[in-house]
């Protein structure tokens, strides 16, 4: 078992945070979340459907998991701050996954608005976990503002492309002292493992599990990928070498 992950005043045994959206049905979602071993589950905040109906999944999740509301769909600092404040009122948590999107097609963050919103929310007492670019400078600024973690993207949301710039992720890990959670872009278990092997503290993902052919099986794989990656990081990998180094003894080799 690897060491736990501490963010603000909470410690989690699992380093996998999981989204609750886009599963084939509610039961598959619940089974997949359980199979992943995740303790933190993300949710969105939306206008209620006044005509009635809609889902009541939150009641089911709130008993079992630490809910992490997001500000998905917000394009300005103002909307993101209001959404975070509504989330705090609705769920009773100070934790917020801060997203401020800058472009509909790539869903890349708007850094200017993100920094503004992060600053306001930290001053308002929030535990801010910002989804951000894989840019070490932005991450350093977010850390300086007082965010509880940074969550650089591995690749665009829902793209399943894995870590497109592992070197930047490595620099980010090196340059900030708060937890680094890779958020977005994970496609399969090895992507998650690679992020953890680089020293990242955790993974936040949704689509790679929800849209897999077998979400429950993929959730199990992701949970193990995260755990394997973290164990490997803690164990300390051997240095890379260009040339071979025999592993069997060189003495006493049979010569015909």
């Amino acid at each position: 078992m690897s060491n736990g992950l501490t963010i603000a005043d909470k410690t989690f045994a699992s380093r996998l945070f999981i989204g609750s959206s886009g599963y084939p049905n509610q039961q598959v979602m619940l089974d997949a979340i359980a199979a992943s071993g995740a303790e933190v589950v993300t949710v969105a905040i939306r206008r209620i459907n006044i005509q009635g109906g809609g889902e009541n999944v939150i009641e089911l999740l709130s008993d079992r998991y630490h809910l992490l509301p997001n500000t998905a769909g917000c394009y300005t600092a103002r909307d993101a701050v209001l959404t975070a404040q509504l989330a705090r009122e609705a769920i009773g948590t100070d934790w917020i996954k801060l997203e401020v999107i800058g472009d509909e097609e790539t869903l890349f963050p708007d850094v200017e608005h993100l920094l503004t919103a992060a600053d306001e929310l930290v001053k308002d007492g929030f535990i801010v976990l910002p989804y951000c670019n894989d840019d070490p400078i932005t991450c350093r600024k977010l850390a300086d503002i007082g965010c509880a973690a940074v969550m650089p993207l591995g690749a665009p949301i829902g793209s399943g492309m894995g870590l497109r710039n592992p070197y930047n992720i490595e620099i980010i890990r090196d340059q900030v002292s708060i937890p680094v959670i890779v958020d977005a872009g994970i496609g399969t278990a090895s992507d998650a493992a690679i992020a953890l092997e680089l020293g990242c503290d955790g993974i936040l993902l949704n689509t790679a599990i929800a849209k897999a052919l077998d979400p429950v099986k993929m959730a199990t794989a992701m949970g193990r990928g995260v755990e394997a990656g973290r164990l490997a990081f803690e164990a300390g990998r051997i240095p890379r070498k260009l040339y071979a180094e025999a592993s069997s003894p060189q003495a006493g080799i049979v010569r015909a």
Binding site: R47, I48, G52, L67, E89, A90, I157
Partner: protein
């Protein structure tokens, strides 16, 4: 007396004069858990839903958590 409000982005004429009344008028159970309301961009805590008065032209947001990533 009816007044013009924006409720979740939709303009409508309502008789409600408080947050609690607008929820009732919209068929939303104001005792339901996980509800949150904002008036003109500021969150109104549940304990104030009976007290806060609405004026014509106000914008009300009524939200709840849903599945998300």
């Amino acid at each position: 007396m009816s007044q013009q409000l924006q409720v979740n982005g939709i303009g409508k004429s309502v008789n409600a004069s408080t947050i609690a009344e607008i929820l009732q008028e919209e068929g939303v159970d104001d005792n339901a858990p996980f509800l949150a309301v904002a008036l003109n961009g500021s969150v109104i805590p549940r304990r104030d839903w009976d007290a806060v008065q609405l004026s014509s032209g106000d914008s009300v947001e009524i939200v709840k958590p849903v599945s998300g990533g």
